[in-house]
């Protein structure tokens, strides 16, 4: 991510996928689309409730498209997209945008790089001018590259080196994947951050930033017609070129549990367990989401009741999975309380997973999970930025934004037996990687 949050005005909705729910009607939130001649697809939703606009551009390129030696390049590139092009030189993009009432940010995942602009309607043509300038004419100033390296290194220290959960998560992925490019962190290894070159950046730009590799989503105080006209003027003349080469490596099936330990000065341990699950557009997406809700969401969830409430082993127990083009990881995270052996948390988690495999969830649980999905759909739809992010995420990861509105019927048909089947299929000991952060006390090495 490019920035810290400066103000809460623009609530950043970095949602995971699958929060859409049944009952949602496509006609409640109509979307107009157009594919430009250069291949960029544009999705527009009008909402005049506030005089503002959220404009998101999703590029299908992320750390998944990188190689050893230049890991983190997609994320670094995300930063460089703000550091000067032809018309708007270094520092000017932010200055001009803020002076016109706009703000921006961006985030990079293993699969995508997403640029976000939030601005008053009056800044509409300016934003298109800025976006076109940087997609077409990005400039690489050697001095900027050097100072931005320091910024990204500081971001890595913030989120990884000085953040126990971040640190452990990095180790988990690096262990769970031996072949596929999901194995390295989005921010990149520190030594790669220090060493990539201008040539690497130019190559990355050429590889990932064809308009045909991007999807634009505009939500807010606009009409589809005016957005399509602006696109024709500013974006359509930018020529397309080849998309990034396909990622052909397939992670081989994991044939046995992998374990790793991180020893670090800490007040409390952290436990992180990863299970390989399919990519986002797999049909099991819906049943997995229902299972995740039943197990982890809310204080009536099975894991909360077991680990936090009844046995009082952990401060929390959650699970999440990022949107992904390729088979990904379900990550279960729990923080053992002081004096609790992480192994006790681990055992309780496995017992609850086992329970979900040996007998079906209850009708009440199934219905609750579907109700929660519905509410979350509306939570995403209540802001223009939430809509832009959700519509774009469905378009990119399912290949069709309509899947957001189809989620209703896709959840409705999930049965208790489906949920039990996916629990059995993916939550197998041989398929898991277990990472534990064990606190070291002041005396080095003493547990």
């Amino acid at each position: 991510m490019r920035k810290m949050c400066f103000r809460s005005a623009t609530a950043l909705v970095l949602c995971a996928m699958g929060l859409a729910g049944p009952g949602a009607q496509a006609q409640e939130f109509p979307v107009q689309t157009k594919t430009l001649k250069n291949g960029m697809k544009v999705l527009v939703q009008s909402d005049h409730s506030i005089p503002n606009v959220a404009l998101y551009v999703f590029y299908r390129i992320g750390s998944r498209n990188e190689h050893p030696g230049t890991t983190g390049l997609s994320h670094f590139f995300e930063h460089m997209m703000f550091n000067g092009a032809k018309k708007y030189g270094p520092g000017e993009l932010d200055k001009v945008m803020e002076a016109n009432g706009g703000s921006n940010n961006a985030y990079t995942t293993k699969d995508t790089t997403v640029y976000q602009d939030w601005f008053p309607r009056s800044a509409l043509p300016l934003i298109f001018d800025i976006e076109a300038d940087r997609i077409q004419n990005l400039n690489f100033d050697p001095q900027k590259i050097q100072s931005e390296r320091g910024v990204v290194a500081s971001e890595r220290r913030l989120r990884t080196e000085n953040n126990n959960r971040g640190l452990l998560s990095e180790q988990l992925w690096a262990t769970a994947y031996v072949a596929h490019t999901y194995q390295w962190p989005v921010v990149g290894w520190m030594s790669d951050i220090e060493h990539w070159t201008m040539e690497d950046l130019k190559h990355h730009f050429a590889m990932g930033y064809s308009p045909s590799n991007a999807t634009m989503v505009v939500v807010g105080d606009v009409t589809p017609e005016e957005i399509f006209q602006l696109c024709e003027k500013y974006i359509e003349p930018i020529p397309a070129h080849a998309p990034p080469p396909p990622v052909t490596t397939v992670e081989p099936e994991q044939l046995g549990e992998r374990r790793l330990v991180v020893h670090k000065r800490a007040e409390l341990p952290v436990l992180l367990i990863g299970y390989h699950i399919p990519q986002t557009n797999n049909p099991d997406f819906y049943a997995l989401n229902i299972l995740r809700t039943v197990l982890y969401q809310g204080e009536s969830s099975r894991m909360y009741l077991r680990l936090v409430d009844k046995d009082q082993l952990a401060l929390f127990a959650n699970s999440f999975s990022p949107s992904a083009f390729d088979p990904s990881l379900e990550q279960i995270i729990a923080q053992p309380k002081q004096g609790v052996d992480p192994a006790a948390c681990e055992k309780a988690i496995y017992e609850e997973l086992e329970r979900a495999k040996t007998s079906a969830i209850t009708d009440q649980e199934l219905e609750k999970a579907k109700n929660i999905r519905l509410v979350e759909f509306y939570h995403q739809m209540r802001t223009i930025s939430g809509r832009a992010n959700t519509i774009g995420t469905y378009e990119v990861f399912f290949g069709d934004y309509n899947k957001l509105f189809d989620a209703a019927k896709n959840y409705a048909v999930v049965t208790k037996e489906d949920v039990q089947r996916v629990a059995k299929a993916y939550f197998e000991p041989n398929n898991r990687t277990v990472a534990t952060l064990i606190p070291e006390s002041a005396e080095k090495g003493k547990p």
């Binding site: 103000r7 105080d221 809310g298």
Partner: protein
């Protein structure tokens, strides 16, 4: 559970969301019209209809917060809030969770410095059961011993967990070092020791003394019919027995004179996290809009002076900012950033230079114009959802502010001239008197920090409590 309807004398005050006559109507910032009523038992209710998404947001303020915690029992207001849902006259904690989750509802309760917040959201179709849950937690908590024990133990570990993340606890040390053991200096959530001194009796007493309709403001915003909502609220909340609650007194703190520095040692840190500043302003300071404008230029956005210097131009950090964290009485003002151990002094020096430059050169007309435009452009998404609107009106009511905070914002921003900005810098931004708080690896950075202040303090992050160090007295 149904409560019989009482005939309540309702004082209804219609507040019209008048459009400010500046520019095109669609471009002007305004808050939707809403109404205020006071139930017979003294409960203030604000109702704001907002259609579009079928959600209803409840946001209540109980006008007693963490600043009223008894000394040595810091965290009492916060624990009381957290326990509201953990057992009521008709529901166990587990039953409450089951009923809430079944309708996909959300419920939150927490104590800030000035007040306790109790909020909830439900789909409009679930309004009946939703309001029942919300009012059950607010009116009928029973504070079961077993639940209190669990929540206290959780929170003690929660403090420990937070200390593993310097950014999460910097504010606690900073407020403590700035204010001492008084009011806003206390950790709102308590610490490892103060939480151990809280028992069920203290919690029950805190609830009984402070949770009363006359001490509470409730805002409801979202998709509903206001006249039906009025009836429902009278029915459910009108029976809440009135009682006298003394107003929580919060002593105002004076600015710190001179310079002082606290270094919190975290031996494994590869990056130093710092806050520099002094006592800030009240929420309803007459200069508040001007302060917002000047702080936007100084450290409130990406192209701010601080972020330009420490990040954009030098690459020392991922981010540098400044913030006024304002309360009923003056809260904190701080410049915040972080940088690798080796560049700690360089980054602090640079932040201080930017502050000096602000005093010396002021801000340019271009910077002023840009900040004004930025605030106006970014404001509408801050009152976009029913939850944001409920929070906005309930806090306005608490702080004695009105809709002109929103409806007159553009005009008030317009009135901030370069001369006004200059006065605000002199009056509200510290200059020579500064408090420094750093969390970092002491063995790597301590010697170089001597130059910043004559008075120097230090403590390890692993020691219980924040600042001041616990004395052990009850």
């Amino acid at each position: 559970m149904k409560i019989p309807t009482k005939t309540a004398r309702i004082l209804t005050v219609m507040i019209l969301g008048l459009l400010v006559g500046v520019g095109a109507a669609a471009q002007s910032i305004h808050i939707p019209s809403h109404e205020k009523l006071v139930l017979k038992n003294g409960l203030t209710v604000l109702l704001l209809e907002k259609h579009g998404v079928p959600i209803v947001s409840f946001d209540a303020i109980v006008k007693t917060g963490a600043a009223a915690d008894p000394e040595g029992q810091e965290g009492l207001a916060s624990i009381t809030a957290e326990l509201l849902r953990k057992g009521t006259k008709t529901r166990s904690a587990q039953q409450f969770a089951a009923d809430l989750d079944y309708i996909g509802g959300s419920f939150g309760s927490d104590a800030g410095a000035d007040f306790t917040s109790v909020s909830a959201e439900f789909l409009t179709k679930d309004l009946g059961p939703g309001l029942d849950l919300f009012s059950d937690a607010l009116l009928h908590p029973t504070f079961p011993q077993a639940e209190a024990d669990k929540v206290l133990a959780q929170n003690i570990d929660g403090v420990r967990s937070a200390k593993d993340n310097p950014q999460q606890v910097l504010g606690e040390y900073y407020a403590g070092y700035l204010f001492g053991a008084r009011s806003y200096g206390r950790a709102e959530g308590g610490d490892e020791l103060s939480l151990k001194r809280i028992d069920r009796d203290a919690i029950v007493k805190f609830y009984d003394s402070n949770f009363a309709p006359g001490n509470t403001i409730l805002a409801v915003a979202g998709q509903f019919n206001a006249s039906e909502m009025r009836k429902k609220l009278e029915e459910v909340l009108g029976a809440w027995a009135a009682k006298k609650v003394p107003e929580a007194a919060i002593p105002a703190a004076a600015s710190v004179k001179g310079k002082k520095l606290l270094l919190v040692d975290k031996p494994d840190a590869t990056q130093t996290y710092f806050a520099i500043g002094n006592v800030g302003t009240k929420v309803n300071d007459p200069d508040r809009v001007g302060i917002e404008v000047v702080n936007t230029v100084f450290g409130g956005r990406f192209t701010s002076l601080l972020n330009e210097a420490l990040r954009v131009e030098s690459g020392l950090t991922y981010g540098a900012s400044s913030q006024f964290d304002s309360h009923r009485e003056p809260g904190t003002f701080g410049m915040y950033s972080f940088t690798k151990n080796e560049t700690t002094v360089q980054a602090i020096d640079l932040a201080l230079q930017v502050l000096q430059k602000l005093h010396k050169d002021g801000i340019t007309p271009e910077q002023l114009a840009s900040a004004k435009s930025y605030i106006k452009g970014q404001y509408p998404p801050s009152i976009e959802t029913s939850a944001q609107l409920a929070r906005r009106i309930v806090q306005n009511e608490f702080y004695g502010l009105d809709d002109s905070e929103v409806n007159q914002l553009e005009a008030r921003i317009g009135a901030v001239t370069p001369e006004v900005a200059r006065q605000i810098i002199q009056k509200h931004f510290p200059d020579e008197n500064l408090v420094f708080v750093l969390i970092g690896k002491a063995s790597a950075i301590a010697p170089a920090l001597k130059k910043y202040a004559e008075k120097q303090d230090a403590r390890p992050v692993s020691e219980p409590g924040f600042w001041p160090p616990p004395t052990g007295k009850k």
